[in-house]
């Protein structure tokens, strides 16, 4: 069993709307990330996956619960105490167009984290580190003095990756790092992330809504719905036999790029997604679940182990047989 790098215990995040109402973005998530692995967090928009990712690296304070990094609590620390951990916990953003300051040259963008954390003694050392990072992410050295607008989306994402790995972090949260990119470029970035992981022993939390990307890149997968974990386990096991009804629907809704498999596997999810302001009682998926019973409305299911995976469903012991 590999070492646990990061642990989240009962993490909750509520965003207040008014005095009485709030958005329940994340509702009591407990999970651990092992050193060197890639844990994918999947779910549809608004399920709380980005909020969770930000709380994991201490970029957003949780409403309740705590995050432990190598056994040390990083929740509720003062800025000065936290800065040592900040170097270890980094983030790659989704939109390579919005996440780079358009007025900064590439050399300054990549040098920024190194300067902030006073890593380099001399200017020459700083330039050398920047050049090394550019080489690592595949940006030609003669682009040192270019501005972000002179780069394509894929190259910008490489700059974002260089910034994230500049301080040799232990864990990087990748928040939809390839969803703004074209198919042919997307694979270049996924290959780069995997290479960097092997070379530098990085641990990734990979947030994505794209299940085919997740299947390729992750070791374990965590499926979220309305701020809660529905199912978590080894990626291959979850894809081979999804136990939670929501995971089954999610996997079924992937449109295969093959006209011979047209309309075959697609099962459609009925109804509309419930509101995170006023979540349903009991199981939050029950209003859309074809297998929901009275028990689902009255009691919230907790994550229970079923083989190699953990599932939050009252009916997981008899997995509902799919129609085909």
């Amino acid at each position: 069993m590999s070492e646990v790098l990061l642990e989240a215990r009962d993490l909750t995040k509520k965003f207040p709307l008014s005095r009485r109402r709030c958005v329940h973005a994340v509702g009591g998530v407990t999970l651990s990330v092992n050193a060197g692995e890639t844990l994918a967090i999947v779910g549809e928009s608004g399920c709380g996956k980005s909020t969770l990712g930000r709380m994991l690296i201490g970029a957003l304070p949780p409403t309740s619960g705590e995050v432990r990094f190598r056994g040390h609590t990083i929740t509720g620390l003062k800025e000065r105490e936290f800065s040592a951990y900040r170097r270890q916990l980094q983030l790659i953003f989704q939109d390579p167009y919005a996440s780079l300051d358009p007025r900064m040259k590439v050399r300054d963008l990549i040098a920024e984290p190194l300067v902030t954390h006073r890593v380099c003694e001399t200017k020459d050392e700083l330039t050398q580190r920047v050049l090394d990072l550019m080489k690592a992410v595949g940006i030609p050295a003669d682009y040192l003095n270019r501005y972000p607008h002179q780069f394509s989306g894929g190259q910008r994402q490489r700059i974002g990756i260089a910034r994230a790995i500049a301080l040799d972090p232990a864990l990087v949260v990748c928040d939809e790092p390839v969803s703004a990119l074209d198919v042919s470029v997307q694979n270049q970035i996924l290959n780069l992330l995997r290479e960097l992981q092997e070379e530098r022993g990085l641990t990734y939390v990979f947030i994505s809504h794209d299940l085919s990307v997740v299947r390729h890149i992750s070791d374990r997968i965590c499926v979220m719905f309305l701020g809660k974990v529905m199912e978590i386990g080894p990626t291959e096991d979850v894809f081979a036999e999804a136990r939670h009804p929501y995971t089954q629907f999610l996997l079924d809704s992937v449109l295969p790029p093959d006209p011979h498999r047209r309309g075959k596997s697609v099962r459609l999810l009925a109804g509309e997604p419930p509101s995170p302001v006023d979540p349903p009682s009991g199981c939050c998926f029950r209003t859309r679940c074809p297998f929901a019973t009275e028990l689902c409305a009255s009691k919230e299911p907790t994550l229970r182990r079923a083989g190699s995976v953990e599932v939050a469903c009252h009916h997981q012991s008899q997995p509902p047989s799919s129609s085909d």
Partner: protein, 325 residues
């Protein structure tokens, strides 16, 4: 050969900027039969949305349709003035855009927005327009239509908003529906629902032009596919022929990139390099700088689109040579 609803021939659309002419669409020809779903696939900047905008007459200055013809059931659209186009848009040809939140009026109830289309194009009573609106809203799968009729866009989910957009596009029973990345902003479970809805519309006789970068969407929905790269159609074939027997190196690269994601291989297949800048297109084949089969001729002469079989056309020097043997 069945009668075609839309026939685009040798369309050239350009934008004239300070930095020179940007050739967004070059020599694009396509036809869509009645009730047929035609897909256009390509990466960002390949000109696929500009083909749609040219058909809709939505190319604004500094852009212009330079030459070519667009026939809708035999009627030439490129020579029509704005007033005449207004009568056709929304009635005979309509369009669904990618982002339903920015395409709907946030200050107007969604029912009225759909109803407005009816009142503009036809002289009918308010009550009849309302009845037709309610009918189309429920036809596109919106539950509790009477309540939703009075909702504002922000009160609806992304999937429902896109259904409202489709209802608005379909309320006049157009001959051609153009859907430009209709599911890109939506979640996977909702995407599958919208694709099923578009398929159903086509089965009922509407011709559909679906534009997408997602090969899954194209494979599930289109009957015939045009692959675009840097403003050109580089390959066109029936959906089965294209996925089973792709010939252009770009199509091959795209399909390999997607299928390697689904394989066990550790290293993913990619197409090296980046999409060229449309203002500085390379001489010869636009794909040559990224092509692993590039020959001397590719960097000097632009290849022609050649037929290689029934309904299968490819724009590649390599194909031509194989064909000539």
């Amino acid at each position: 050969m069945t009668q075609s609803t839309l026939e685009v021939s040798h369309l050239y659309t350009s934008f004239f900027s300070e930095r020179g002419e940007i050739k967004a669409v070059q020599d694009v020809s396509m036809r869509i039969g009645k009730g047929q779903v035609v897909g256009v696939v390509g990466e960002s900047g390949c000109g696929k949305s500009m083909v749609a905008r040219s058909i809709m007459g939505l190319i604004k200055k500094p852009g212009k349709i330079v030459s070519g013809s667009i026939l809708l059931d035999g009627q030439e659209l490129t020579s029509l003035g704005e007033n005449e186009l207004c009568k056709i848009r929304g009635k005979d040809v309509s369009m669904v855009f990618q982002e339903p939140m920015t395409s709907l009026n946030p200050t107007m109830r969604v029912g009225l927005q759909v109803q407005e289309v009816v009142s503009i194009h036809e002289n009918v009573s308010k009550e009849e327009a309302r009845q037709r609106t309610l009918a189309i809203l429920s036809a596109v799968g919106i539950p509790e239509v009477k309540e939703r009729y009075n909702a504002y866009p922000h009160e609806l989910s992304g999937g429902l908003r896109q259904r409202v957009m489709i209802a608005m596009a379909m309320v006049m029973r157009p001959r051609l529906l153009i859907a430009d990345e209709p599911t890109t902003a939506l979640d996977a479970t909702v995407e599958a629902q919208i694709i099923a809805l578009l398929r159903q519309l086509a089965d009922n006789g509407t011709s559909v032009l679906i534009i997408s970068h997602n090969l899954g969407v194209i494979a599930q929905l289109a009957d015939h596919v045009y692959v675009m790269y840097a403003g050109h159609v580089v390959e066109s074939a029936s959906v089965f022929e294209l996925f089973d027997n792709p010939l252009h190196p770009y199509t091959l690269g795209l399909l390999r990139a997607v299928s390697s994601l689904r394989s066990q291989s550790k290293v993913l297949q990619t197409i090296p390099g980046i999409v060229p800048n449309l203002a500085h297109l390379p001489v010869g084949c636009s794909f040559a700088p990224r092509c692993d089969k590039c020959m001397a001729r590719c960097t000097s002469t632009q290849p022609e689109l050649v037929a290689v079989g029934s309904g299968h056309e490819v724009r590649c020097h390599l194909t031509k040579r194989v064909d000539a043997q």
